[in-house]
Subunit: 260 residues, 2 copies
């Protein structure tokens, strides 16, 4: 008697041809039946955006003709890809959704800007166990090899244990050789933020425009944060939720005089 | 001795000319010194997206030449507007950021897709007390009058009491006459989701495309949710946070065998 392979949906925000998603597909092909639905262009920083004021295209593509996975290229955001996959492409609910491997960190507050993590969160909202993977290396030729065995172990644990309703995993991997990675740490999201530095320029028509850039500031000294783990050679896993209610502040708010 | 008026940053996601932001500006002009930095086009459903792969324009505009506020129209997302305002436009940190009034609900899981609320969250990340306001009426000619006195009361409370670090307010207002609004309720985010219904069409060149639409499903029967409050004639306020850590799951995750 053969056991049915788990169905794994793979997506990302760097686009369907990015080396990071190719590495993730390789690992997932060792574990289950893989379907890829990913953006046709880079969608970094798209957060939880969805496409409601324009149309969406989603077409089957063959990127590696010897590979076993089915692939679809979608004109929308990472969150659109997950919605499209679960509603239009897959004929059953996937056992897992993995997003990434992102080229660059999604630790700390970056989780909120991240298309990679928003795709995982969207899968979580739909009741699909989901994990976002990111490597702390923005380069297109980043080395994803050292992370592969850790990704495999994390995915196998999630397939075996499941995840509680309302929780997805945010996994960040330091830019280190395999022998330098000290292991995996369960963390909380570091309390950090960006300080913007707009680069102001003038276009050939004389009109001013800006490029958004910034400096990442981590003022959180806690040794239980993702930032600490990553700086100390560990892979960080932050369990991440989408109930945004600040439950701790409800009682105090009830004392305010709000009925105008 | 005169007390300095509070500096209030106003933004939204429906665009700088939407009736909802005009109503919010009216109320804020009664309370403080108002600066508007808002998108030059509709940005609904943009979530926490930021513009990193293209350029941003941000120009002063005059929409009502007799009005006291300064206004700037920005080519980016609602989150870009807040970043642009705090870094390039305002010469001091605002005392408050208000976003909206959104044409349509941002209750329950809608908070995560909402450009309106993401602008408020971004202000919160930057340490600015922030509130998102939404009216449960998508119509362009929605009646914002009944909500004005409640918005004023909520804003005055926030200016007086402040908000704890890491918390912003998500305020939703039912589509009711002033006499029908029963008051304000502090709530938690209802556990609800969307079931997508893609509308598949064929373009004149014969290629299939989709429009994203869907049905909102609330399976949360709790009487402490925003959905319950809104359906029962109350304005809902959900204190909303951006530490997404699922703290309750950390202990169990530590028992997993994750070191592959």
């Amino acid at each position: 008697m053969t056991q049915k392979k788990p169905l794994i949906l793979v997506t990302n925000d760097d686009g369907i041809t990015a080396p990071g998603i190719r590495a993730l597909i390789d690992v997932m092909n060792e574990i289950g039946e893989v379907v890829v639905v990913a953006p046709d262009s880079p969608q970094s920083g798209m957060g939880h955006a969805i496409t409601i004021n324009s149309t969406l295209y989603c077409d089957p593509v063959i990127i590696n003709k010897n590979a076993p996975q089915k692939e679809f290229s979608c004109s929308g955001t990472p969150v659109d890809c997950v919605k499209m996959a679960s509603r239009e492409i897959l004929n059953r609910k996937p056992d897992l959704c993995v997003s990434g491997i992102n080229h660059g960190s999604n630790s700390a507050i970056n989780v909120i800007y991240s298309g990679t993590m928003s795709a995982a969160v969207e899968a979580g909202i739909e009741g699909i166990p989901a994990i976002g993977f990111s490597l702390l290396d923005y380069a297109m030729d980043a080395n994803f090899e050292p992370s592969k065995k850790h990704i495999k172990a994390i995915v196998k644990n999630v397939l075996k244990n499941g995840l509680p309703k309302g929780v997805v995993l945010n996994v960040n991997i330091p830019k280190l050789e395999e022998s330098e990675i000290k292991g995996v740490k369960i963390c909380r999201q570091a309390n950090a933020h960006w300080v913007e530095e707009f680069d102001k320029r003038t276009n050939p028509m004389g009109r001013d425009y800006y490029w958004l850039s910034g400096k990442f500031i981590n003022e959180d000294k806690g040794e239980d944060t993702d930032e600490w783990a990553l700086h100390n050679g560990y892979i960080s896993i932050v369990p991440t939720q989408f109930d945004l209610t600040a439950h701790h502040f409800i009682q105090e708010l009830n004392n305010w005089s709000l009925n105008g």
